[in-house]
Structure formats: C-alpha cells, structure tokens
Amino acid sequence: MSTRQQGTILFTGILFLVATTVVIQLWLLTVSMEALLSGAMKTLVPAAAASTILLCINAGLLRYVFRFDRQIRSSK
C-alpha cells in the first residue's frame, strides 16, 4: 500500500474522529442552552471547559494532518 493510500485511510479515520467530537460539542452546547433556560448555572462552565478540551483534540488532529501532508509533499 502506497503512503498516499495510507494517508487517505488515516485522513478518513481522523475525519470521522473530528466529526464525532464536533457532534459531542454540539450536544454540549444544546445541554448548556437548556441548563441556561432552566437556571442550572453550575453546569455551564464545566460544559464550556469540556468543549474547549474537545477543540484542543481537534486542533491537534488538524495539526497532525498538516504535518503529515507537508511530509508527503516534501518527500515527492
């Protein structure tokens, strides 16, 4: 299997992982909105912190994608 094909499979996996975390973030935002309307303020900051952690995971994966891409392009 060529490096490019391996990269395609890897990127597909990363894409699904990032999509899953975005769905979780969307759920966190929905729960936060519901908590805000019902006056349960204690859950809002932990939800925002969890969302930020997921953002960091996504940013790390995106950085990995760019680094991998740069390696492929420079090896050509």
Binding site: T8, L15, V18, V22, L29, S32, K42, A47, L55
Partner: protein
C-alpha cells in the same frame, strides 16, 4: 506537412492545462478530506466559543439579578406563615416562608415540573404543588414527592433593621 506539428501544439495545450490543475483524482479526494477536517475544526472552534459565551453570559445575567430588594417588615411574616413577592423581576414569582422554628427561607414559586405555582403547606412543613401533587422540602427546596426532579431555585434573604431584603437568586 503541417500535420506533424499540429498534434504537438494541442498536446502542449493539454499539458499546460494539467500544470494549472495538477491534482489527480485520488489526490482530489485527499484534498477534500483535509479541507473537511479543517472546516470541522473551525466549526469546533465556533462551538467552543458559543459554549463560553453561554457560560459567561449567564454570569452577567446572574450578576444583574443580585440587586437588593426590600420585601417588607420582619413582623409582617409570622412563624408558620408565608408571603409572596416577585424577584428579581416582576415576572419572577417567589414565596418566602417563616417556618415553625422561626427560620426564614425563600424560593421561586414556579414548580420545576410544569411551572405551576407552589404554595406553603403548614401541616406538612413543605412547599406543595397542587397541579401534580409535587412536594419540596423547606431546608433546600429539594423535591421530596411527586413528579418534580429538580430543586426550586433559592432566593437568599437578609434580615436587618427589622426589614427583610431579597439579595440574590441562586441557581
């Protein structure tokens, strides 16, 4: 005579087109996946920002509800009785209760089940929702019977100089 040169010029044009768009079919898929990850990460950033805006916005709203409001004289609220008031806005009905032991507590009057008005039940020493027989204790406003699952929001009160003040609405 010219027939040998003509295919070559068209061939060169084709090569120039390929130079302008050098991405092959497989590579094209590869690029769109990468772009999709970039787009999703951007979406992730927006969602995280929206979460923080919600959290910090609620703090600002909460700070706005910390205004001190005079409810009345302490003598007006006898032991084992209740009084209704609105706090922090005119749209937020609340109930203050002086228990049999003389302790003063106040909660939102809106039941956390389906928003009916709760009333003070002297016999049971609790707050009662007549719509679905929900019941909350006076110590913490926690649900003790019926369908409600969440406690009533508490209103912090302060007694000073023979007057009762509402000072903060807790979550």
């Amino acid at each position: 005579m010219n027939t040998e040169t003509e295919p070559c010029t068209s061939c060169k044009k084709s090569e120039k087109w390929r130079d302008d768009f050098p991405i092959e079919w497989e590579g094209d898929n590869y690029v769109s996946r990468r772009e999709m990850v970039k787009f999703l990460t951007l979406g992730s950033l927006f969602l995280a920002v929206a979460n923080w805006v919600t959290a910090l916005g609620s703090r600002i709203l909460r700070r706005g509800s910390q205004n001190r409001q005079l409810l009345g004289s302490s003598d007006d609220l006898k032991a084992n009785s209740s009084a209704l008031f609105r706090y922090p806005t005119a749209k937020d009905p609340c109930i203050a209760v002086r228990t049999g032991e003389g302790k003063l507590v106040a909660y939102s009057q809106v039941c956390t089940h389906l928003s009916c008005a709760v009333v003070y039940d002297k016999a049971e020493q609790s707050l009662f929702c007549p719509c679905h027989n929900g019941r909350f204790n006076l110590e913490q406003g926690a649900p003790i019977a019926g369908p409600p699952t969440r406690p009533l929001p508490r209103i912090r009160l302060e007694e000073s100089g023979g007057q009762i003040y509402a000072i903060e609405r807790e979550a």
